[in-house]
């Protein structure tokens, strides 16, 4: 028992140390609960993402807050565990005058709290994961899969592979393997890939990898036997590095692998070593350096308030995603302030409206020091995603580089139709009358 207690102490110490920088919320502070994971199986991604978000909070605070309102936060360690995540949400949702919004960075936790959000009036963002049909704000008024969803990503993947062949119709007769994490996450793109398989006429071969994916010899031997033209890697955690290394082992060219964005970070390629050279993935951030990242280096890390212990991770994929997420949250709060009162602390309901009316065009991106760091985004009640655009990046052995200079979108009309159908089904199940909430 003493030793179990020691683990709890370690987890608490980590959370407490990071919470110190956030301090506790006072009446004039906008409180954001951080359901982070810094220990356990997916800790490296969690520490990068939430580190990026907290770095951006510190930058906003260093610059005087949002019209004078400072951001405060408190971390709760979820270890990427759905039960613990829900517990963290319940613990923090009423703190600091009430949670402004929540971002669990985990599909299990997101599903766990989904039905509580309208009652608690807390908006939830799910950048690049979660339910794709939640883009329909009339059915999911408190859920925001900002920028892009799995379905748009899958559509973008097929568009990119088609472009590589010289036109999407040229994929006809080709073989595409979908190597996926054997979970709801891995199966999420099935409807889109199957729709394309039907309309274009390529052969889709689905091969599951049991969790956590530390062994993939049999899957890759099957792939070698099938001799596909492309392999879509829809992995997570250790599965990604193992897939890349096993591909090298069976001699499958990494250039013909296209990973999901959760398989496209330094944490996925560095352990794979030289085998990862030439490996491509989707992304919703253009790799590179940006004025906002430099400002974080200068004002946050320069003041000793940086959240990452390893400064080399500043500007890494997960860190940049965290900065992007926080930037959009702050834009949502700023929008809400513009409507409901500048310099005031906003409620979850008001921030929900703010998130529903985000408009970050190139001009605004430039002002934020993030021009082209992520696609331009304009949300509405009907479109909580706001973009649907993606890019492709390649690992050159040392860093990620953008392959597609412009943002890529797949068949948006097809995806929107699928979103409408799926969300209507959900609305019928839950007896929800689809409608836009009043501002």
């Amino acid at each position: 028992m003493k030793l179990k207690f020691a683990k709890a102490m370690i987890v608490s110490a980590v959370a407490a140390a990071t919470a110190l920088t956030g301090a506790l919320a006072s009446a004039q502070e906008q409180f954001i609960p951080i359901l982070s994971y810094r220990v356990g199986l997916y800790a490296s991604g969690g520490s990068g993402f939430f580190g990026g978000a907290i770095d951006y909070f510190n930058l906003v605070n260093a610059n005087g807050g949002i019209n004078g309102v400072k951001i405060s936060w408190e971390e709760c360690e979820t270890e990427y565990n759905a039960t613990r995540g829900v517990e963290c949400y319940e613990r923090l949702k009423k703190k600091g005058g009430g949670a402004s919004l929540v971002e669990p960075l985990g599909t299990g936790i997101a599903y766990g709290i989904l039905d509580r959000l309208p009652t608690d009036k807390v908006p939830m963002t799910t950048l690049g994961y979660g339910r794709s049909d939640a883009a329909n704000g009339q059915v999911f008024p408190y859920v925001f899969p900002l920028i892009t969803s799995y379905w748009n990503q899958a559509a973008g993947m097929i568009k990119y592979l088609g472009d590589k062949e010289g036109g999407i119709e040229k994929l006809k007769g080709k073989k595409i393997v979908h190597l996926y994490h054997d979970s709801a996450y891995g199966k999420e793109p099935f409807p889109v890939l199957e729709a394309y398989e039907k309309s274009i006429g390529f052969q889709l071969i689905k091969i599951p990898v049991p969790h956590p994916g530390t062994e993939q010899n049999s899957q890759w031997l099957q792939i070698r036997q099938a001799n596909p033209d492309y392999v879509i890697l829809w992995g997570w955690g250790v599965m990604n590095a193992v897939a890349i290394k096993t591909a090298a082992r069976v001699g499958f060219p990494r250039e013909k692998m296209l990973g999901v964005w959760w398989a496209g970070s330094e944490e996925d390629t560095i352990p794979a070593g030289d085998a990862a050279k030439g490996y491509t993935t989707m992304t919703f951030n253009t790799p590179g350096n940006y004025p906002v990242i430099d400002e974080i280096r200068k004002k946050v890390y320069g003041a000793g308030k940086g959240n990452l212990s390893d400064k080399d991770r500043i500007g890494s994929v997960y860190h940049m995603r965290g900065v992007t997420a926080a930037m959009l949250w702050i834009e949502g709060i700023r929008n809400a302030q513009n409507k409901y009162g500048k310099g005031k602390v906003m409620t979850g309901e008001q921030i929900r409206w703010g998130l529903e009316n985000i408009n970050v065009d190139e001009k605004r991106q430039r002002e934020l020091g993030a021009l082209n760091m992520f696609p331009t985004i304009k949300t509405s009640c009907q479109d909580h995603e706001g973009s649907g655009a993606v890019k492709v990046q390649v690992w050159d052995g040392k860093a990620w580089k953008a392959v597609t200079p412009n943002w890529v979108t797949g068949d948006r009309a097809m995806v929107q139709k699928m979103v409408a159908e799926s969300s209507a089904k959900y609305a019928a199940e839950k007896k929800i009358t689809p409608a836009c909430l009043p501002g």
Partner: protein, 298 residues
């Protein structure tokens, strides 16, 4: 047919990697009757410490490895002193629970000291097909897996010598047979336990280096222990050769099942198939293939 053999050989070589982890369990169970739940955490701790020493202190890998070895031996001795010694004569389940606590402690400690970043470990062994075999047979056999199998063979031979040809080995076997009888003839139980935990720490280091080099050094290394459990059920908890044979059977069967049965049931079966196989073995031979048959007077 060539494909069948390719799958079979890949499975056998994977099995050797599982056996490597299973060996750590066997050593401790054999000498103390404790099922060490912390073996996976020890594998993770050892690999992370090696890479941490290398990256954070700028040490060469070949210096970081012996230092980690010393750390693992000290950890083994400390485990005996702090965790096991106060629990002598307690029920087996108490000792088992203590090792669960040890698991969480080691996982937390490793991440507290070295952080949670995924790290690369390069042992200088290429994980690519052996060209000679590829040219002659058309089969892709990983150079890394073959070298890992050789290392495992050397380790087993060394353990066999330790158990069968040395004074320490005899003491280990005596303690394994009967704690009290061993104590009554003057064998220091605590010393034997400390030695066996230290040796298990060394085995964890070897497993951690090979698995870490293969998959990257990350928390997922703790999960390799799950691959060792069916190996133990099959091979027996007290047999070193059993761990090897069990590993080979589990490795080969899970790969063959995934490739040849998987497509008919939706795939992804290699996660649970070894456990089903182990359960079938339990029905037929509860002590495992090489485990000691326990006969009790009723």
């Amino acid at each position: 047919m060539q494909f069948f053999f390719e799958v079979l050989i890949a499975g056998l070589l994977s099995g050797v990697m599982y056996a490597l982890v299973a060996l750590g369990f066997v050593l401790i169970f054999k000498a103390s009757g404790v099922f060490n739940f912390a073996q996976g955490a020890m594998v993770f701790f050892a690999a992370l410490t090696t890479v941490g020493l290398k990256e954070e202190f700028g040490l060469s890998l070949w210096l970081a490895i012996p230092i980690t070895m010393v750390v693992m031996v000290l950890l083994g001795i400390a485990t005996e002193r702090i965790v096991l010694r106060p629990l002598v004569n307690q029920h087996d389940i108490t000792l088992f629970m203590a090792t669960i606590g040890l698991t969480f402690f080691l996982e937390g400690l490793a991440q507290l000291i070295w952080g949670s970043n995924v790290r690369r470990l390069d042992l200088g062994i290429q994980d690519v097909p052996i060209e000679f075999v590829m040219d002659k047979t058309g089969m892709l056999i990983s150079q890394f897996d073959v070298i890992a199998a050789i290392i495992c063979a050397i380790l087993v031979a060394a353990l066999a010598i330790l158990f069968n040809k040395t004074k320490v080995g005899r003491a280990l076997r005596a303690v394994a047979d009967d704690h009290q009888a061993a104590l009554s003839v003057g064998i220091p139980l605590q010393h034997v336990w400390a030695i066996v935990w230290a040796v298990a720490g060394f085995v964890a280091l070897v497993a951690g280096l090979l698995w870490g080099s293969r998959n990257g050094v990350q928390f997922a290394l703790t999960f390799v222990a799950l691959k060792a459990l069916p190996v133990l059920i099959l091979g027996g908890f007290t047999s070193v050769p059993g761990a090897i044979v069990g590993g080979l059977i589990i490795g080969a069967s899970e790969k063959l099942a995934e490739v040849y049965i998987g497509p008919y049931v939706g795939g992804g079966i290699e996660g649970w198939f070894p456990y089903v196989l182990a359960l079938v073995f339990l029905l037929v031979r509860p002590e495992g293939l090489f485990g000691e048959k326990i006969i009790r007077r009723i």
